[in-house]
Symmetry: C2
Subunit: 456 residues, 2 copies
């Protein structure tokens, strides 16, 4: 029996643990699921003969080291800042390790020692980062192998509600950490490259500069720019590329309405609102508007942000109850962002039978044999239910598959890694396909920007 | 001979040093002016028999302590973060001290020891903070002495160009640190109180929520909200006040045009622009606009920010050359804010014969004997020339007057102080009047907000 230790059994571990348990008999595995909540760990393992649930306080060094020492490989599904504790023990005891998080500087520092001990510390192998790396590098490598030259790379990803569960005006529900959705885009200007020109969008304009994308069978979507597009230049080896853009996907019309919250200042998490506990939702909205007791909150807001009286934005705002004078905030010393999150949770929480949806699309422009061409690669994944969500599947399955392949010696390159080499992405993408996570490719002429060269 | 040590002889020390030198014979004073630049110190002292210029490196402890030990009182006109070095030595050697800066936590920590040694550490006694404290507290105390109850306090201050030197479309020139002007309003939402309601304005809306004020003989001005209005509640003892607002004054129309820079993202100081050195001013502007090689930068900007073709904002932007394709940025790895500052310096630097202007206005609303009343108190100060600017006079004279009054035992309350008690503000305001810094008061019925109670 080979022992796989999975630390952290939150929502995104369901598909991961089930995959490993399903493989446990044929692959001769024992899966230990450790969580600070024994209850939660138990719920994921069930009664499976090859699974054990246990409680683990990750900050208890003795307990942690003891648990890791007994494993053959370790999966950390902890919050990102806690991986490093696990990683150091893994290196100490000679265990390989897998995470779905971005490589931190502390993690990077373990590279040399991991190589010396021939350990694989595989990171960024969830959905985003993860599936995005693998599906993008597969096509970029194909283009390069043929002698093509990359001109454009655009990549979009989003967690949304599935069409069959889409029943609000925003076409959006929380399928992931709501706090991150409220704060999305903050912390600095978005930077990207378009046809050789660097472009910068400040936060307060981010949701007014969306790009449109289409996915066969699912219609139109929009995307707002991520902060970090430029770093993919070096990661993917795209040093001379003309266009480089990464964005987050929403349904069309979401961003224009979301912009109202940004303009008002409701997404600010840097200060607390006086007396927030005893405010109504309407009071909260009014605190961002000019003082005038004889004008309505609605009219002041519409005038301030220049919203026409027949704009669909009104219906979206009203649906969220932000003008409701009787619903109370009931949060002590809360920031605007915390209050907005509470208001949105009322309307955007998934109902019991709701399903989520993950959408990813890449666009590759390149020149091959003197001809400019384009490949579009899209993936849509719908959740099965509230346990095996699209998010749990797309995050957890690549982690699970990588874990088993490292354990079985199919993925061997040692050190602190991310899944951008063929050795890693090829077998994993293949197995993801068998599990319903499929990219559809479309080839066509290169469009770039303003392909018809319209002027005038 | 009593020795006054003035450390720091930058632009705002001119009037201060001249005042002390003028008093030196009748008051039996010797003035030592110390600066890291001996040249600069000499230029301020001239050939005055009671003055000495010397060089001083404030971070050289031996030299600093030696210099302070020989003084009877010390004035620090250093950058704010350097005062604490001087203050600690002053307490050690038993010297009183005067600064024009906000009281830091480190400074506050010296209070008990200063009281024990009977030393006055007077701070916040320049213009703003300084003249604002004194002129406001004078009227607040008068209202309270009569038994009045404060309802409203609004206070505005700004450094502008004098009407006779006002020759650009923005009605603005740099009369103070340009970097602070570019960054003004950043770092958090502006908070204030209107008729009992807390109001919050995010940075990207700050310059679209201005208030209008009028000053007899000088016409209309506008003001945008300062970040910190609420802290004056406790400082001035205005705990139950309904309206509390502090703002920065500009000429009408400045803020609406300035908002263009904020919307574009040009005031951001948190990241550097790629290849900034070799950009034209036009390239810089274009980097915040959508990519399209067949549209003009002008049209893209006008469409993005919804600026009508006949809007005066176009003339203001064109006057600054932001669409100029031949003027080069020539700054390496510069932030947007640094580049914008350079562009503005081209147009907004004072010419040799230009004069500056300081404008301050307070509004006090109160209830006395069952009647609601209002006092408006305004001050305008015009600079004499580029040495004795309005800024140098309004910052330096209160510092100089306070220094002499502490030395002469007329201001005696020991500890870390600011000028909010009658003992301090009354004699200083009187002497400021003799030096042409005069507040004009106007009494009238209380207006508050929407005084006519118009509804409908």
């Amino acid at each position: 029996m080979r022992n796989i230790l999975v630390i952290g059994s939150g929502q995104s571990s369901s598909s991961l643990i089930t995959y490993l348990l399903n493989k446990s008999i044929s692959e001769n595995l024992h899966i230990t699921v450790a969580d600070v909540s024994l209850e939660l760990a138990k719920s994921k393992v069930g009664n499976h003969e090859n699974g054990t649930a246990r409680s683990l306080d990750i900050l208890n060094e003795t307990e942690r080291k003891e648990t890791i020492k007994n494993a053959d490989i370790v999966v950390s599904m902890l919050p990102a800042h806690l991986h490093i504790n696990v990683a150091k023990d893994c290196v100490e005891f000679g265990k390989s390790m897998v995470t779905a998080s971005y490589i931190s500087n502390e993690m990077k520092a373990l590279h040399v020692e991991a190589v010396e001990k021939n350990l694989v510390l595989m990171n960024e192998i969830g959905l985003d980062p993860g599936v995005d790396h693998m599906s993008a590098m597969k096509i970029i490598d194909e283009i390069r192998e043929k002698g093509g030259k990359m001109l454009l790379f655009e990549s979009f990803c989003g967690g949304l509600v599935a069409p069959e569960s889409d029943d609000n005006l925003w076409n959006y529900k929380f399928t992931w950490n709501p706090r991150n959705v409220v704060l999305a885009g903050q912390g600095g200007a978005a930077k990207f490259l378009q046809e050789g020109t660097y472009k910068y969008i400040p936060y307060h304009k981010l949701f007014r500069r969306t790009e449109i994308l289409k996915i066969d069978g699912y219609g139109k979507f929009e995307a707002y720019a991520n902060r970090d597009s430029l770093k993919y230049k070096s990661i993917y080896g795209l040093d001379n590329i003309l266009t480089l853009y990464r964005g987050t996907i929403r349904r069309v019309g979401f961003s224009r309405a979301w912009n109202v919250f940004i303009q008002l200042g409701m997404t600010d998490d840097s200060y607390t609102i006086e007396n927030s506990e005893h405010m109504s939702y309407r009071d909260f909205t009014n605190s961002f508007l000019a003082y005038n007791p004889y004008d309505s909150v609605e009219l002041k807001l519409g005038y301030y942000l220049k919203i026409d009286q027949d704009d669909i934005v009104w219906d979206k705002l009203t649906e969220l109850d932000i003008f409701n004078g009787t619903k109370m905030v009931r949060l002590k010393n809360a920031t605007p962002a915390q209050i907005l999150e509470k208001i949105l949770r009322d309307s955007w929480s998934l109902k019991e039978n709701d399903k989520d949806m993950i959408v990813m699309q890449h666009l590759f422009g390149y020149e091959l044999n003197g001809e400019k061409q384009q490949i579009e690669s899209s993936m849509v994944c719908i959740g099965d239910n509230q346990t095996y969500t699209a998010m749990a599947k797309t995050v957890g399955l690549p982690v699970a598959i990588a874990t088993l392949k490292i354990l079985n010696g199919e993925i061997t390159t040692p050190g602190v890694q991310m899944p951008i080499s063929k050795e890693v992405y090829e077998p994993i993408l293949k197995e993801l396909e068998e599990n319903g996570i499929v990219f559809h490719e479309k080839k066509g002429p290169y469009l770039g920007y303003n392909p018809e060269r319209v002027t005038g």
